[in-house]
């Protein structure tokens, strides 16, 4: 069993190299003037195709997974085990009527889904998928990622405002407030990785994690600051992509669909796809920064972009799991979490990262363990104390239903 698995992994790694060589060879046959453009077309086509299929797969996974968690079956009518459900959904979305409210601001209403979607696909360009599969290795790749993501805030506002609908407007305002608040902890949490790696190029950050302790990997998540940073990053990422339990901008039980209320047909599909693409992008960034990117989980396994996508899908599964588990937070709880908990803790994490960096000279036996304990305590104790203090400031009491008695 294990042997077959190992054989399959090595076979795949060989195939991947062969595929890369074949692609290089095919491109070298073209005249030099076309080569750049052909590379761009191939890259864009492959990326859009791969992520669109992942989108279809994760909608199905999400509906099936949520179904299991809520003790029901989930979609099982279309195709075997409901596997063709995404296809049916896609056809439904494409053929639905595109309704624009009479009072809506036509141009802005039309542009909002595009402004949301286009920058998100741009952010895929800087993610390093494999050692030789880095579409665009920028010196300031991390900054590019956040710059591309920041346009989606404007898109949420455009959608909410142009619909001329109070629920849309409320949803848009909530979306902006939430995205701006959680962008701070998200950026600062990734800054700790930049501090340690000394570069903002995402491919270089993955290469720095290509070290082994015996057969175990030295990914950033296996350091105290990395562990804390990863946790803070994932919570902020959940809020940044409007995933449950931070799905207030949609909040279907309060404001119908938030800024997407007045969208139908394919425009709604674009918003929906944008949400998933945002989740993939930010999960991909988490994999790159903390989980070692394309590196294998054990030293004797070959590196491959398969690991990247495996880690990415594992994170997506965690997102789905959390959505099926936690209830939605309130607006005030959301803001308290962002500004009074996540942001100070990410700032503290920068100091812990510096402590880890400067204690690297300890060569004494047991020095590593001591460093670990010291740095872990430096971030874990404040986290726990602050959480307890924030919980204590609330007055817990049995719930009183004022309108029910």
């Amino acid at each position: 069993m294990i042997n077959t698995g190992l054989a399959a992994i090595f076979l795949w790694a060989g195939l991947e190299q062969g595929l890369g060589k074949l692609l290089d060879h095919g491109l070298s046959l073209l005249p030099p003037a076309w080569r750049t453009w052909a590379t761009i077309v191939v890259l864009v086509g492959v990326m859009l195709g791969v992520f669109a299929s992942l989108f279809a797969l994760s909608t199905l996974l999400e509906r099936k997974g949520l179904g299991r968690m809520q003790n029901r079956l989930g979609p099982n009518r279309v195709g075997p085990y409901g596997l063709l459900q995404p296809v049916a959904d896609g056809i439904k979305m494409l053929t639905k009527e595109d309704i624009v409210p009479r009072g809506a601001d036509g141009v802005v209403h039309f542009l909002a889904p595009l402004v949301l979607f286009a920058p998100l696909t741009l952010s895929f360009a800087v993610l390093p998928y494999g050692r030789h599969w880095v579409p665009l290795n920028l010196d300031a790749g991390l900054l590019f990622f956040f710059a591309a993501g920041s346009a989606s805030e404007l898109a949420a506002f455009m959608a909410g405002w142009s619909s001329r609908n109070k629920y849309s407007m409320l949803g848009g305002m909530r979306a902006i407030a939430q995205m701006i608040s959680f962008e701070m902890p998200l950026v600062v949490a990734s800054l700790s990785v930049v501090m340690i790696s000394g570069t903002m190029s995402l491919a270089a950050i993955v290469e720095r994690q290509e070290a082994w302790l015996w057969i175990f990997p030295k990914w950033n998540v296996f350091t105290p600051w990395g562990l804390a940073g990863f946790g803070l990053f994932i919570v902020a990422a959940m809020a940044e992509t409007n995933r449950s339990p931070f799905d207030l901008p949609e909040g279907e039980s309060e404001i119908i669909g938030g800024f997407m209320t007045e969208y139908s047909g394919f425009k709604y599909a674009v918003f929906f796809m944008g949400e998933y693409f945002g989740m993939f992008a930010v999960s991909g960034l988490a994999v790159t920064l903390f989980l070692g990117g394309w590196n294998a989980p054990l030293s004797f396994l070959p590196a491959s972009f398969l690991w990247f996508f495996a880690k990415l899908m594992a994170l997506v599964l965690v997102f789905i799991w959390v959505r099926g588990t936690l209830p939605r937070v309130r607006v005030d709880q959301l803001m308290n979490l962002a500004w009074k908990y996540l942001f100070p803790m990410t700032l503290l994490n920068l100091f812990v990262a510096a402590l880890w960096h400067y204690t690297a000279v300890w060569r004494a036996p047991g020095g590593l363990a001591l460093r670990w304990v010291l740095c872990f305590a430096a971030i874990a104790v404040p986290c726990a104390v602050l959480a307890r203090a924030m919980m204590r400031s609330h007055k817990w009491a049995p719930r009183v239903y004022r309108f029910g008695d």
Binding site: D139, F146, A147, A151, L154, I176, G198
Partner: protein
Amino acid sequence: MQITFYIFGLLVIVGAAGAVSLRKPIHCALSLAVSLAAVAGHFLLLGAEFAGFAQILVYVGAVAILMVFVILLTRENTPGEGLGVGRWMIGAGVAAGVFGVIAACALASKAVWVASAQPEATARGIGEQLMGAYVLPMEALGLLLTVAGIGAVVVAMPDKKVL
């Protein structure tokens, strides 16, 4: 490269023209965001990656959002009556003055034009400059922002006597 330069240039000019001529304030703000994003495109054409991305992150991601928020929170969303001729003249005078000063500065700095064809503006270089030669201005800016942040918190804090 030429054609991208003209596309971005056109976007800058059209966006800026829209920002001062459109009737709804929100449209003006969005139009300004287009113009600012196109300026980032120019930075990228010049090889200044860091400045381009920072421009998008700060101006499109934060300043444009701040503008639309302020417009929404301060006034009714109706087109204004327009300004009188006298104010128009003052505005035009101020704009011409600012443009003149910037143009004079740009023309006076001829040495920059021939200094280097491909400047090395990497993130590391910018960071080293900020933390080395320009550490004092950066610290002063940090202090200013801290003061502004504290001020915002004080303004936003609920009044104890009212509660």
